[in-house]
């Protein structure tokens, strides 16, 4: 280091954060403690260091007192490191000469006593580290002007359309044969009761028609390499056995195919053929062949009805799985949710009694394109009384602690639809709390309340076919407490609709790993900040929108889709992205050529030169994890911004109060 000891001038800034820090930590004591530390030129405290006057304070000191290191003791660096780095830059100080000391999230907020003592140790550590901080150079690279959207539900559709509207290339990848997601399965949407398909299909068609959107259905992302601005994504395209470029969507193949299977789209309530489009408005309107049920595939060449009847010759049994690589600057993950299988709660009788169904099954029964043509019937019988059980698997620590947010509202919608379709039907809502928090929701609740719906406040324990009275014979009996009266009740009905929890996709963990994201405790993917950064993630350039982040209704999902598009567009429109400055480099004089580092690097950023017998680090590829730094037996690799010197000084100072004063370490 060129600076001599006297050249280092550190400014320490202790933030009160209102009473968030000052309420627990004695900020005056902390400031005078900081003032006494070596090389500290100035120590101050202020109500809100991140405010304009707070920032100005630091700027002024840098300029007037010639500070060349800044320590801000405030919130987590994850909150305001960018803010204070900018302050340094504005005052012509290299932003990497700043150290943040976390005395809020990891001190004042979590300790009732002993917070000031701990804060002193943390500040002393930060000062010691700051002493060794060095200016780093920020590098920029160009951003690939294309976006990958993963998941073709309403969130992904909305994001893809918006990015494409701005004139950028979008790759939209969907696992199923058609886009549309859960929303296309719904009948009506609350609280306005507009038809779900009617409002969604125009958007689906727009996706298909847009020249900048490359739609890849029946496909999955299998690998993601690279970093913000420059991702390289590998997509597996499963064989459809139908040539998309030749198929006209005439449907003759489906008509002629003799083999049937349960329709996934209709939740198994209806059937489809072995060659099928999941629903009439599918996008793309190109069928797929389900190899498990196709006799041509299973029995090597027997059948072939579709082959015979397709005039365009679009059927192609020679298709194989294909891997496609695309390059994008940003990724929007919109993989949605799964509906919980309520058979896990066996006492509610799902799968034991055919007339106990899930909410999604009811959506299909109610829908004019559904298996019953929109007639609410099971085995041809129309129910005269229906129980709707809320919170199945939600708000229950045995299953999911969270509230699924949409069930109260769609349960009200169901009651309305049943009332509309079945004359004189009795509907019972078994609820715990009615949560009607959105725009127009309470009004809808009011409307539904006037429509002869019976509200029973209580969580049912059981759906049974054991009749205790003649009225219960042949019925399903919902066993519950009417908690508002404080009396156990038995309600005999003809049909029970369960409102199962919206839960993380079964493969949420793999998705999180593939895109280098985290999951929150409930299993949904974790956003960067719950309030202020709701679609960004810890992995720069990857955004999460819709129910992959947590249960949401359609308006919220759409809003998030648009937010994800805005984030991706901001990145692409800027055209450049800053790379990690805290990379590693090899001190060639010390390198012994042992090659240990080469195999350790997860980014293959280290190469070994056989002629020089030295390792080299490609800093464009280095992410600064420091694995090689810790592993180098010669200590020849330096990890910028987290050097051995910096960390060891930090550790020693962190513990300065734990030893008797006489002990020199």
């Amino acid at each position: 280091m060129a600076e001599s000891k006297n050249d280092v001038r550190i400014g320490v800034y202790v933030c009160h954060c209102g009473s968030n820090i000052a309420g627990t930590v004695d900020v005056d004591d902390l400031t005078s403690f900081a003032q006494q530390q070596g090389s500290v030129a100035v120590a101050r405290n202020y109500k809100f260091m991140c405010s304009e006057p707070g920032q100005a304070l630091i700027k002024k000191d840098i300029e007037e007192l010639g500070l060349n290191r800044v320590v801000v003791a405030s919130c987590s660096p994850r909150m305001h490191e960018p803010t204070f780095r900018r302050v340094c830059e504005d005052a012509n100080l290299n932003p990497y000469q700043l150290d943040m000391c976390n005395i809020r999230e990891q001190c004042s907020w979590v300790h009732k006593s002993g917070a000031t003592g701990k804060a002193k140790a943390l500040v002393s550590a930060a000062i010691s580290r700051a002493y060794y901080l060095q200016p780093l150079e920020r590098r920029e690279v160009l951003v690939t002007p294309a976006v990958l959207v993963v998941g073709g539900g309403i969130a992904g559709i909305q994001a893809a359309l918006k990015v494409a509207e701005a004139g950028h290339k979008v790759y939209l990848v969907e696992r199923e044969p058609s886009i549309g997601g859960h929303m296309i399965q719904l009948d009506k949407t609350f609280p306005t009761l507009d038809c779900s398909a009617c409002i969604l299909t125009p958007k689906m068609a727009a996706v298909k028609a847009h020249p900048d959107i490359e739609l890849m259905t029946y496909s999955e992302v299998v690998d993601v390499q690279g970093y913000v601005g420059n991702f390289r994504v590998t997509i597996r395209r499963k064989p459809r056995y139908v040539d998309e470029s030749l198929c006209t969507g005439c449907g003759i193949c489906q008509e002629k195919c003799p083999w049937k299977a349960d329709s996934e789209f209709d939740c198994g309530l209806g059937q489809r053929k072995a060659i099928y489009t999941p629903f009439p408005q599918a996008v793309p309107n190109v069928p797929v062949i389900d190899p498990e049920h196709c006799v041509y595939i299973q029995k090597e060449g027997k059948c072939g009805a579709c082959l015979k009847f397709c005039e365009r010759g679009a059927i192609d049994f020679t298709q194989k799985e294909k891997m496609v690589d695309v390059e994008v600057g940003a990724i929007i993950v919109a993989t949605g949710y799964d509906l919980m299988d309520p058979s896990a709660i066996s006492r509610l009788g799902y799968k034991r009694f055919p007339n106990v169904i899930t909410s999604m099954e009811f959506e299909r029964l109610c829908n004019a394109t559904g298996p019953t043509g929109g007639h609410i019937t099971i085995d041809g019988k129309e129910p005269k009384s229906v129980a709707i059980i809320h919170c199945v698997g939600s708000r229950d620590e045995k299953y999911h602690t969270y509230c699924s947010r949409v069930c109260c509202m769609y349960a009200l919608k169901f009651a309305h639809l049943i009332g509309e379709k079945i004359e004189g039907a009795q509907v019972y809502q078994f609820y715990i709390d009615m949560r009607c928090y959105g725009k127009g929701f309470e009004e809808f609740y009011q409307r539904a309340s006037s429509e002869a719906v019976n509200f029973v406040r209580g969580r049912p324990a059981q759906v049974t076919d054991f009749a205790m009275t003649p009225e219960e014979k042949g019925k399903l009996v919902v066993v519950c407490e009417n908690t508002l009266v404080g009396r156990p009740v038995r309600v005999p009905v003809d049909m029970v609709i369960l409102c199962p929890a919206m839960e993380p996709r079964a493969d949420a963990k793999e998705v999180a790993r593939r895109f280098n994201l985290s999951q929150s405790a409930d299993g949904f993917l974790l956003e960067k900040h719950a309030k202020l950064d709701p679609v960004a993630t810890a992995n720069d350039g990857v955004f999460i929108v819709g129910c992959v982040q947590g249960p949401k209704d359609i308006p919220d999902t759409v809003a998030q889709g648009l937010a994800g598009a805005a984030e991706a567009l901001a990145l692409i429109e800027k055209g450049r992205v800053e790379l990690e400055a805290a990379t590693a480099f090899v001190n060639e004089a010390a390198c012994s050529g042992c090659k240990i580092c080469v195999s350790l690097c997860p980014y293959s950023a280290i190469t070994f030169s056989e002629t020089e017998k030295l390792s080299h680090i490609n800093e464009a590829l280095c992410k600064g994890c420091g694995v090689c730094v810790a592993a180098c037996p010669a200590g020849a690799i330096v990890g910028r911004h987290f050097t051995d010197q910096q960390i060891l000084a930090e550790v020693a100072a962190l513990l300065v109060d734990t030893r008797p004063a006489t002990v020199a370490v």
């Binding site: 708000r395 969580r459 407490e481």
Partner: protein
């Protein structure tokens, strides 16, 4: 009707803080416990209402209702509770309050205490001794049991002199120690 002021919340009895699950504070009044309970129909306050009374500090009112005495400890409520409340243990706690604070119907109270007394004396249940203790103060009770008693006797299912534990003194000492540690509620 007079509006009753709620009692200030007191420190709940120690044993309600159960190690297995959450205490009644966690209850959010969904009523799944009541719905799972086979005897709730006969209770003055359903299990859910008992949790609410405990939350509001009205444990005496909960105990006096006798609802706890109808709990069969089948554990359905505890196993199902979506908030992990150890409902069965809460019900047992008000059962104890009911018995020790003498809210209970004298016969039921005697049923519990006679049972425990025979166990204290012999280390095991002793039918004849229990029956003597239970029925003697109120022979009317016996009339209802004649049918069952007849069967039991004729089918050879009541032993007149069952075995007990070897060291009955040590058993009694255990009972005393428990009372010393716990105190009576």
């Amino acid at each position: 009707m007079a509006v009753q002021a709620l009692a200030p919340r007191s420190e709940p009895v120690r044993v309600m803080k159960d190690p297995l699950g959450n205490s009644f504070e966690y209850c959010y009044q969904c009523g799944l416990c009541t719905a799972s309970c086979r005897t709730a129909f006969a209770m003055k306050f359903t299990p859910r209402q008992v949790m609410n009374l405990l939350q509001l500090g009205c444990e005496d009112e909960a105990a006096a209702s006798g609802s706890g005495m109808l709990c069969t400890a089948c554990y359905s409520c505890t196993f199902r509770c979506p908030r992990g409340v150890a409902v069965t243990d809460m019900m047992a706690a008000i059962q104890r309050l009911n018995i020790h604070r003498k809210h209970a119907d004298r016969d039921i109270r005697r049923f519990y205490l006679s049972f425990m007394r025979t166990v204290e004396r012999h280390g095991r249940f002793h039918e004849i001794e229990f029956m003597t203790r239970y029925f003697l103060p109120n022979p009317l009770l016996l009339r209802a049991e004649l049918g069952v008693g007849f069967h039991l006797l004729t089918k050879g299912k009541i032993s007149l002199n069952p075995a007990g534990v070897k060291n009955t003194k040590a058993m009694a000492a255990m009972f005393h120690k428990a009372e010393e540690i716990e105190g009576r509620l």
